[in-house]
């Protein structure tokens, strides 16, 4: 365990340059946009000169870039900076939208796991049959579909034509515990709110997870086949174990590569969030960042990328730690 501790410390140390790099990069991009943010934040063409001066002073816009960057990061990390466009504290704004994005990613991840893994197992068991070929082509279609298009088709069918789902608002339970609506609703036992949440998030979740379902199915298939072809499975068969027990053994070893991919897919799902949230009008982090880009709302943009970078490095870390639990050969 001391090794794990040392490993964790080392990993946390490598986070720091990555996070600084990501925010610095956003900062650089934000400030090569040829616009005058002070004037824009003060209200555009008719902005009063004294207000512009105030904003320049408030956000240190006349200082050298590294000083500006320092104040930006300080303001975001201590949550003392007020966003000039929305009027909220920048970090509170991003953090208030994070649970919704998280819930969307959970729905997407749910479909990925619940459909992807069984499809992969079936396709491995029925290797080289039409089932296998179908899953293969299906997974290729999955990564080829533009998700915004898929989203609109779902909206057209299930909202306009059938009216089964809702596409406005986020149903919140009466009390806030974790901030994620559906988890809170389940914890409080507010079942109507749970159902409302499912109706709101099931299609966005499926749309978001659509590509990963095929990817995970393909990977499960290959990993499961590798496991089935290994010596210990042959040994288990020779010992006369029941078929299901043999598959159980093989499945456990399939988990090792699968966990990596699932971890990466979760990160990938967060990457697809801006489009899905835009299509379904979900007020999450991705949409906030897209809007921030168009409204020159640099503080929100920097805080948002900072959050996503943290999520990315943390999921990678969790995957690495899970490794040690699943695969006894891995030691830190």
């Amino acid at each position: 365990m001391t090794n794990l501790k040392r490993f964790l410390i080392r990993r946390f140390l490598t986070f720091i340059p990555t996070l600084i790099g990501v925010t610095l990069l956003t900062y650089v991009i934000a400030f090569i946009i040829p616009a005058n943010p002070a004037r824009f934040w003060a209200g555009g063409l008719k902005a009063r000169p004294d207000v512009i001066q105030m904003i320049i002073h408030e956000y240190h816009l006349n200082d050298p870039w590294y000083v500006q960057y320092y104040y930006f990061m300080k303001g975001i990390l201590t949550n003392s900076m007020i966003d000039p466009v929305t009027g909220y504290h920048v970090m509170s704004y991003i953090l208030s939208r994070f649970p919704i994005t998280f819930q969307l990613a959970l729905f997407g991840f749910f479909f990925t796991v619940v459909l992807g893994i069984p499809l992969g197992i079936i396709s491995a068991l029925k290797r080289d049959t039409w089932v296998d070929a179908l899953v293969r082509v299906w997974s290729l279609i999955g990564v080829s579909v533009p998700i915004f298009w898929l989203g609109y088709i779902f909206i057209y069918i299930f909202f306009y034509k059938l009216g089964w789902i809702t596409i406005a608002g986020i149903p919140y339970p009466p009390k806030t515990i974790t901030g994620v609506p559906i988890i809170d609703a389940i914890l409080e036992g507010a079942w109507p709110v749970v159902i409302e949440n499912i109706k709101r998030f099931i299609l966005p979740g499926f749309t978001l997870g659509f590509a990963s379902i095929g990817v995970v199915a393909r990977l499960t298939r290959n990993a499961f086949l590798d496991a089935l072809n290994s010596d210990y499975v042959l040994f288990a068969k020779a010992r006369g174990l029941k078929k299901l027990r043999v598959y159980g053994h093989a499945l456990k070893n399939t988990m090792v590569p699968l966990v990596t991919v699932l971890g990466l897919q979760f990160g990938g799902l967060l990457g697809g969030v801006p489009i899905t949230e835009t299509v379904f009008g979900i007020p999450g982090m991705g949409r906030a960042m897209v809007q921030a880009i168009f409204s020159l709302d640099f503080p929100v943009l920097i805080a948002g990328t900072f959050m996503i970078a943290i999520i990315y490095v943390v999921t990678n870390l969790i995957v690495d730690i899970l490794y040690a639990f699943i695969d006894p050969r891995v030691r830190y």
Binding site: S144, P274, I275, T305
Partner: protein, 358 residues
């Protein structure tokens, strides 16, 4: 190996290559006989993969329409039936098949089919400009990191990590909006750039400024695309570095550059080629996603922007404005993915055997 109707076509193709190359360099055939034989086997394997053939047809179809689409389009991309005929009621969101509009019209009475055909050219140009640059940067950095190791590796990989931790779509979108104005200035100030850009994209010179967002997307994708390749190539270079032929080359005193590009690169070209093929689809998809998010800012017929524009008229029941452009994206991307998937099996000698003897 059982015969296949396409095998004779493959034979003809291989002998054509042999004949052409002999014309160019008489000694070529002598030196590359085995390579040619391997290519023939690869083509045989491709013939036995129906999905691969389907993918190849779709992919080539995309390239063909990308090149010739603007010339076979029934109308110009900005042609409006409403403006031309004055029949507003007939051509406002006209369903497919109405009065000459095969795939219907949009809210301005523009012909959807023509827009899609012009859009194919834009997608093709984007792919052709993004991939070579993005891949070159990635491959060079990956080779350097993998071959030299140590501090070089550490520095390159840290930067790569930063880019990978960055949400790609957001990075590209931010870069796009940062660069659009600058590129528009550059186009407006250079008459030759105006005519060049509009010729490449097959659009009217009066629309040259509207191409600026697309050019910005291309530049943004250069920066987004290389990290994946850098990591991939670094890993493969590390594997190759341990091989005897690399040590032999080092012992012979070859320069590092020669070893990297003449001895390591050709050995990792196979998997790289598969990745590139699959990535063509990815570029089309990401570019469509970006132009979708930019939406109203894009005033040229890009597939993603057409979907975004059409989605506003779903309430009016104009399903064709949604289905057809999306289908165009899907088929183009799917073609490259199917082909790349088959290519992976074909280029890997182990799986190729199993296809040949199926």
């Amino acid at each position: 190996m059982p015969g296949h109707p396409l095998d004779r076509l493959s034979d003809a193709f291989i002998s054509l290559i042999a004949r052409v190359m002999t014309r160019v360099n008489p000694k070529w055939l002598e030196r590359n006989r085995y390579k040619l034989e391997e290519w023939r086997l690869m083509l045989y394997a491709l013939n036995r993969s129906p999905t691969g053939i389907a993918g190849l047809i779709l992919a080539m179809g995309f390239v063909f329409i990308g090149i010739f689409g603007p010339y076979i389009a029934p109308h110009s991309y900005d042609f409006s039936y409403i403006a031309a005929t004055g029949k507003y009621k007939l051509y406002w969101l006209a369903p497919p098949g109405t009065g000459g509009a095969i795939l219907g019209t949009d809210d301005l009475g523009r012909d959807l089919l023509s827009q899609l055909l012009y859009g194919a050219r834009i997608s093709l140009v984007v792919v052709a400009l993004v991939l070579p640059v993005g891949i070159s940067i990635g491959v060079i950095l990956g080779l350097l990191a993998g071959y030299y190791g140590g501090a070089v590796d550490e520095a390159i990989m840290r930067v790569t990590d930063i880019f990978l931790a960055f949400p790609g779509l957001i990075l590209a979108l931010a870069l796009t909006s940062a660069l659009t104005m600058r590129i528009a200035y550059a186009i407006a100030n250079n008459p030759w750039l105006t005519s060049f850009v509009s010729a490449v994209f097959a659009l009217k010179p009066s629309d040259a400024l509207n191409i600026a967002p697309t050019l910005a997307i291309i530049v943004a994708l250069w920066l987004v695309w290389w990290p994946g390749y850098a990591r991939l190539v670094r890993g493969m270079t590390l594997q190759q570095k341990g091989n005897v032929f690399v040590m032999a080359a080092q012992a012979l005193g070859m320069s590092s550059r020669e070893i990297m590009f003449k001895h390591i690169l050709p050995n990792i070209l196979g998997p790289l080629l598969v990745f590139m093929t699959l990535d063509v689809g990815n570029v089309i998809l990401v570019e469509a996603g970006l132009s979708f998010l930019m939406g109203g800012q894009i005033k040229i017929p890009e597939w993603g922007a057409i979907v975004q524009h059409g989605s506003q008229y779903l309430v009016n029941g104009a399903w064709w404005l949604l289905i057809f452009p999306g289908l165009a994206i899907l088929l183009a991307v799917l073609g490259w993915n199917l082909f790349g998937d088959a290519l992976r099996d074909i280029l890997d000698p182990r799986t190729r055997r199993s296809i040949e003897f199926r």
